[in-house]
């Protein structure tokens, strides 16, 4: 409990302070369109599984939404992952404020299906997780600073709560909620038509929090690495790959590094679709959970 509440309070205070100073520094100009959808197509990314703006599994340093630095953008997303033994559904909304601060919410549902019966939980047993996210762009401009090596850098936090506390404790997890902290850097190399992200995350989450936080094997925070590379084929179409390393906190089931290859189609600034093949490794004793990922995002 110790660090979580002060951290959450600090994050909320930081967010409101930043939002305040951004809004007032801009001044009041009635000719300004606060919902300008002015960003270039695809430069807001999509939403990764935990709701943050980014790719499919990795949060990027880009702020979600098409609102420029003088405006606000927002989006909703729905993601479905079909695995051999489970399904994962994610739905949520995110807001981008002045291309500086991003706030997101996602609800993850991890449905054990018939595997639930085999695990002793009952068929169709579902772990539900609420994820509240905040991301702050610190410096750099991934798109325009083509003459500098400095990437766009953002820091973020994801506060996750799982609704199956009793079961989590039974499988060896220590907590039903937890906070991930991450720093992410994104750079668009226009000369190569290549978008690259690298991130570091401090987390105690088991399977992104689906199986709780901390465990009987390892209980502390661990540092994880994440990366994403996408080739822009047209203004509206990108293909790429991602990877994420994960902790291995539970004795009852091992956890692996995960990855995906994806194709994202930006129909326009209001609709995008992402199709991926995800390799999620071993989940709750079921091996090689590889499957299809489909995500739709709508916003402005």
């Amino acid at each position: 409990m110790g660090i979580r509440l002060p951290c959450a309070i600090a994050i909320v205070a930081m967010m409101s302070g930043v939002a305040d100073s951004i809004a007032s520094a801009d001044g009041f100009d009635e000719n300004l369109d606060r919902f300008d959808s002015g960003k270039l197509l695809a430069t807001a990314g999509v939403n990764e599984l935990e709701g943050a703006g980014g790719g499919g599994l990795v949060p990027w340093a880009l702020i979600t939404g098409y609102g420029t630095s003088q405006a606000i953008g927002a989006d909703v997303h729905f993601t479905h992952i079909a695995l051999p033994d489970y399904t994962i559904d994610s739905g949520g909304a995110a807001v981008g404020l002045f291309d500086r601060l991003e706030l997101s919410y996602a609800r993850l549902a991890f449905d054990t299906g018939s595997t639930g019966g085999r695990l002793g939980l009952g068929n169709g047993f579902t772990f539900g997780e609420n994820i509240f996210g905040a991301k702050l762009r610190l410096m750099g401009d991934a798109i325009y600073d083509q003459d500098r090596l400095l990437p766009q850098v953002a820091v973020g936090a994801l506060y996750k709560t799982n609704d199956q506390g009793a079961v989590l404790r039974a499988i060896g997890a220590r907590d039903a909620d937890g906070v991930d902290f991450y720093v992410t850097a994104t750079k668009l190399f226009l000369v190569q038509s290549l978008l690259v992200t690298g991130a570091l995350r401090e987390t105690r989450a088991n399977q992104l929090g689906i199986l709780g936080f901390g465990g009987d094997r390892d209980n502390g925070y661990s540092t994880e690495f994440e990366g994403s590379a996408a080739i822009l084929l047209t203004r509206a179409f990108a293909v790429g790959a991602e990877f994420r390393t994960k902790p291995n906190n539970l004795e009852f089931a091992g956890e692996n590094n995960v990855g995906d290859v994806f194709a994202a189609y930006f129909i326009n600034k209001h609709l995008s679709a992402t199709l991926a093949f995800v390799a999620l490794g071993d989940i709750a004793t079921r091996k090689n959970q590889n499957g299809a990922y489909l995500s739709l995002q709508s916003g402005f």
Partner: protein
């Protein structure tokens, strides 16, 4: 290494990477040739200007402007930046645009219409991006609002 010297080292690395140069006006004319030379650049500029003057987001900027003179100068500039045998003799991007008080929405409108103009003359996407890589940093000088 002490934490203070680590901080100093990180700051130094940050500043070096920030100052490190990336795409600038080309030393060779590969991009100029890949774009199709002066003839295609003129068609691109014609197409872009035709869109800009009817694009509600940016049309006002082109009101009261000698478009022939503007097109000639813009073509000279793009030609030179792409490594072609031209010389742009106008003022720098900050001074030329300062009086227009352009914002990021207007700048992006210029980019999008330029991309459309390059699509119209079938410049390959990757080649378009090589030109945009040289133009993108101008955002810092052109956007003043």
């Amino acid at each position: 290494m002490s934490s203070k010297s680590l901080q100093r080292l990180s700051l130094a690395i940050l500043m070096m990477t920030a100052a490190a140069s990336g795409p600038k006006a080309r030393a060779d004319d590969t991009l100029y040739r890949d774009l199709g030379g002066r003839a295609t650049l003129e068609r691109i500029v014609d197409g872009a200007v035709a869109m800009w003057v009817t694009d509600a987001r940016i049309a006002q900027t082109f009101d009261n402007l000698n478009l022939d003179r503007f097109k000639r100068r813009l073509t000279d500039q793009l030609c030179e930046l792409a490594g072609g045998p031209c010389r742009y003799t106008g003022r720098n991007m900050y001074l030329t645009h300062k009086g227009l008080h352009l914002d990021i929405v207007e700048f992006n409108a210029l980019v999008e219409d330029l991309q459309d103009a390059m699509n119209q003359v079938r410049v390959p996407f990757r080649t378009q991006n090589r030109l945009l890589a040289i133009l993108a940093p101008m955002k810092r000088d052109i956007v003043t609002r």
